[in-house]
């Protein structure tokens, strides 16, 4: 999956990945796809619930050996 912006939140514990993603979303235009790299095991579910509350679109989560690749599309 292609991303416009990559946010590296590896080795950051909750709420680090969400803080980093929320900061990136604030500075991004609608329609942009953000790739969040995270190792926190809670991150995929956290980001899914967060996105559903605020209206951004979770495009998918890829799980690597150590790192989750979480794709979020910024809504308008």
């Amino acid at each position: 999956m292609e991303a416009d912006i990559t946010v590296d939140a590896r080795y950051k514990s909750c709420p680090g990945p969400l803080l980093a993603l929320a900061q990136a979303v604030r500075g991004a235009k609608p329609g942009k796809v953000i790739l969040l790299l995270a190792t926190d095991p809670g991150a995929p579910k956290d980001i899914e619930v967060w996105a559903s509350h605020v209206g951004h679109k979770l495009l998918g989560v890829e799980r690597g050996e150590e790192v989750y690749r979480i794709y979020v599309e910024v809504s308008g």
Binding site: Y11, P15, G16, L19, A22, Q23, R26, W50, S52, V54
Partner: protein, 149 residues
């Protein structure tokens, strides 16, 4: 993927969370501000009411960094997590929550008197000084109410 979305109390209304913070130890401050700031980032309305020892953490020029006496054995590990950046500091988490415009921070009026504090003695993130009745009015409207001490 999550099969079932968590339910909010009243569909269509903005959820609210109110947390009383009555400790200035980082192991108490961190989860309290994490929940409030995360809620605000999820478009909830969030309130933090700092009372008794909790208010001491908001004094200007004072960085609350002590761990509760019961958990001193874990202090070094916690400090390492903060200094390495794997865990954000509680004040940073609070400031991120404030940026949403949906997190309010209240200082307990009785505690202000107890420690002879004025609003100017506290960090700028404090919105107002209020009493028990005001906070109860806000807490009554909240689906989630927590007390952290």
């Amino acid at each position: 993927m999550i099969r079932e979305q968590p339910k909010t109390a009243k569909s269509g209304e903005t959820p609210r969370i109110s947390i009383i913070v009555a400790s200035d130890r980082v192991d108490k401050l961190f989860p309290a501000v994490t929940l409030a700031s995360t809620a605000a980032m999820m478009n909830w309305e969030a309130e933090l009411f700092f009372t008794t020892w909790g208010l001491l953490a908001l004094r200007r020029g004072h960085e609350a960094s002590e761990v509760s006496a019961d958990y001193k054995i874990h202090e070094e590990g916690l400090r390492r997590a903060f200094t390495s950046g794997s865990m954000p500091g509680w004040r940073e988490v609070l400031e991120e929550g404030k940026k949403t415009g949906r997190l309010r921070v209240y200082a307990c009026s009785t505690t202000m008197g107890l420690f002879n504090l004025n609003l100017g003695d506290l960090v700028e993130i404090v919105d107002d000084v209020v009493g028990a009745a005001y906070f109860l009015g806000r807490a009554k409207e909240s689906e989630v109410n927590l007390f952290v001490s």
